[in-house]
Symmetry: C2
Subunit: 472 residues, 2 copies
């Protein structure tokens, strides 16, 4: 099996932090040195610090230059100012470095023509020598399987979600948002201006990367045109791919230009191209995270838009029903046999067995009654999935775990997704319970409306994929 | 000055909890007995407990019946089942009670014709004897100035927001949501089925209630038609009035019927009527709360939809700009003199002085620099308001307070709203800082997009009020 060319970028045998500060409070130390050490990169492979004015930082030896590092250096993270980066590129070429990550900003995104020229010159020089560049103006790589990270605190276990993200801040929001929901990551690349390694090449790679089962892409620059579309198509045909485009409004496009020097094309054209390619299009990070959860858990198989909502509170149920309708999710009348069963289980006064089912006042043995209600609606013939509200905040962890296990079992028995919605935030559940839910294929959402919105997006994605090859 | 008839309902000289349980864990004890005691009602006025099987509950004496209560009873809260409520109505009439709040459900909303008849008979009997009824099937009254509440934990200080709310759960969400934002309440009425006192009469009262400066209404039943429209018009011409309609989808309308026996008319007709009346229409509780904050603070005077966004993070700024555009809020290019000033203040690399202004990397004296940046954009000639992101989570309380004071002063100096947005939640700020912000007229929102959405709703409301009398 031949190795994909980008494996040489993503699995370095050694790395250097170039221009690292002696001040550990410095922003880039906080990000990269602490990020790599948090993942234990330095314990598995040489991590060189390049600073001519220091002997040692954070217990690691410092070297005056790349040339002084004793062994080959595969991957360099640059923390130096833009105007000194040309010298660094020459040093990298001389040392035989494979990949240079330019955290360094101040290039084309400064909207100064001389800086744009500098960037072009520098990238052309690197390319001519076979040196790949991530950036400039980005956070670079989080790849837990290779113990790489650009900030401390992200999960150390590897997972199956890959992220191709033009923005470092958005990459961090995606990682922390999805990690909280129990997901783990294959590779996350923040590529900034993307002057050498850009969205197209990264998506081509994600399409064939065996670590990646689901791919998320945030892009601002769509000037890649045909190449970007082809890459997106290859990726979206191979695995579920979710795309979020930044800079779709005119003010947003201007903001994208001064963020990553991006040229945004027509949003309508791009959205149509994504859909034609078989990718799902979302409009916010929250939608992206919710849809990624839905696509990696049982809701991926949801048969249609008809849901049962199991909630507490009449007014809350009414407003949620209206909001679900706006997402294309209907709460139809339940089947006669389900209603008959609910009549046995649910006290009449203060509740409703209509759909939404409002179980506010369940009397003495509320737990057992609610379990029976969930069982009954899960087998309802008129509906495609169940949204149940979890009272998480006050439950002990073992009860949270038990509830998740029961819902996972019921989901299998009923052959139908049973999604869990918090009242306002998944944080009502313990991290461990959320991780268990994800592993057992139970999707958890911060609200019933976000659950319904994710289901609506998923069904839309499946409709637009009709005629395309089935995903594994 | 003659007293409005409903003052007799809302300012009882005494109250009775009818059918109170000896079990303090009982749901209605938790709600009403603890709610009234939390506000100190029992310290200011007689609070009678009616339970023939108890001598004393929670330190208060119990009476076997209303007739046994030694003095007049103005207000009765009924916790008895629906089928015994007719006897209670007769007891109330015999005792000369002014208002009966039927927390009791199980009437028309059960969708059983015999229960609907019972409800009609009971209300007709009460009306014939001059006894007003709140409900059935509702939480009743929270009126801090009269020390009344239907649940413990709500603010004890009185304020100027009145809420007319068909749902008890939604009333609680409005109270806790707005209280967290620093607002306080005049009167909140949860009126349930609204068979006697309904939305129309409560809005007529809110229009002239001197305690109420802003009015929020959640309604499911719009069968009141003309009377409801006239009441809404009178209220909306007198004070800012925000309306949320539950049951606008067909499934939602069915849910509303089994929640409060409501007959929902056409949503389009209702929305058009609200707008014609001069009320603001929102689509969710979050929008209602955000707009209420905007209408009671400086943004009420916002001149137009052109904002400056002061944020941290390029990708976040881009996505926020797109989302603001979808709310009708534009981020135009800043005035040349503002840009010149920002060029002096903001380091070039890694930042952007375009609008949105991204101040990620402000160097050593970041605080002072950010203050100067805020001052500069607040005086920009091209824009109508400023959205600034507050780093609240890690700030000590006195710094939070100082920041709020400075923004309040700058807002006055610049004659332009400066709204504060958290990254994800107002909970990043201390309650005390949020209260101060509200008092000083500084609006705080859970995200910059919710800030923009509130401004968009406010501008829409002002447009549709053109030609109507100016509000005070």
């Amino acid at each position: 099996m031949s190795e994909h060319a980008l494996e040489r970028v993503f699995r370095p045998r050694s790395a250097a932090l170039y221009g690292i500060s002696r001040n550990m409070q410095n922003r880039s130390n906080q990000f990269f040195l602490r990020g790599l050490m948090d993942q234990g990169f330095h314990e598995a492979a040489p991590l060189y610090l390049v600073n001519p004015n220091a002997e040692e930082i954070a217990g690691l030896r410092c070297y005056p230059s790349l040339a002084d590092c004793p062994d080959p250096v595969d991957y360099v993270i640059s923390l130096v100012p833009a105007l000194t980066a040309e010298g660094l590129v020459e040093e990298c070429i001389a040392k035989g470095v494979r990949a240079l990550h330019l955290y360094t900003g101040g290039f084309a995104e400064n909207l100064d023509p001389r800086r744009a020229e500098l960037e072009q010159r520098l990238i052309a020089r690197a390319r001519s020598a076979g040196l790949r560049v991530i950036g400039p103006n980005c956070m670079g790589l989080y790849h837990p399987a290779a113990r790489m990270a650009f900030i401390p605190g992200h999960p150390k276990e590897a997972g199956d979600v890959s992220v191709v993200c033009q923005s470092g801040g958005n990459a961090m929001d995606i990682i922390s948002g999805l990690a909280q929901r129990g997901a783990r990551f294959a590779k996350v690349v923040s590529f900034g201006n993307g002057t050498d390694l850009g969205a197209a090449e990264l998506l081509e790679y994600a399409a064939v990367d065996p670590e990646a089962r689901i791919v998320l892409a945030y892009v601002e620059d769509t000037s890649g045109g045909r190449a970007l579309f082809e890459a997106l198509r290859r990726c979206a045909r191979a695995k579920p791919t979710i795309v979020l485009k930044g800079g779709i409004s005119s003010a947003g496009a201007r903001a994208a230009r001064s963020h990553t020097a991006s040229l945004a094309g027509s949003h309508e054209v791009f959205t149509a191209a994504c859909r034609q390619a078989g990718a799902a299009v979302v409009r916010s990070l929250d939608e992206m995270i919710d849809l990624a959860v839905a696509l990696s858990t049982r809701p991926r198989e949801v048969a249609g838009p008809r849901a049962v909502l199991l909630a507490v509170g009449g007014g809350f149920s009414v407003l949620t029903t209206d909001a679900l309708a706006a997402c294309g999710i209907d709460l139809p009348e339940l089947d006669g046999s389900t209603l008959a069963r609910l009549r046995e289980l649910v006290p009449t006064d203060g509740n409703s067995i209509e759909n939404p089912v409002d179980t506010g006042y369940m009397g003495e043995d509320a737990e057992a009654a609610l379990r029976a209600v969930t069982e009954a609606v899960a087998h309802d013939a008129n509906t495609d999935f169940v949204i149940t509200m979890l009272r998480g905040r006050d439950l002990p962890l073992d009860e949270q775990r038990r509830t998740i296990e029961e819902l996972a079992d019921l989901q299998e028995r009923a052959g139908k997704p049973i999604v869990v919605a918090a009242r306002r935030d998944v944080g009502e559940l313990a991290d461990e319970a959320l991780r268990l839910a994800y592993e057992r294929g139970v999707a958890v959402f911060p609200s019933p409306v976000s659950a319904g919105r994710a289901a609506g997006l998923l069904l839309e994605w499946r409709r637009q994929r009709e005629g395309l090859p089935l995903l594994p």
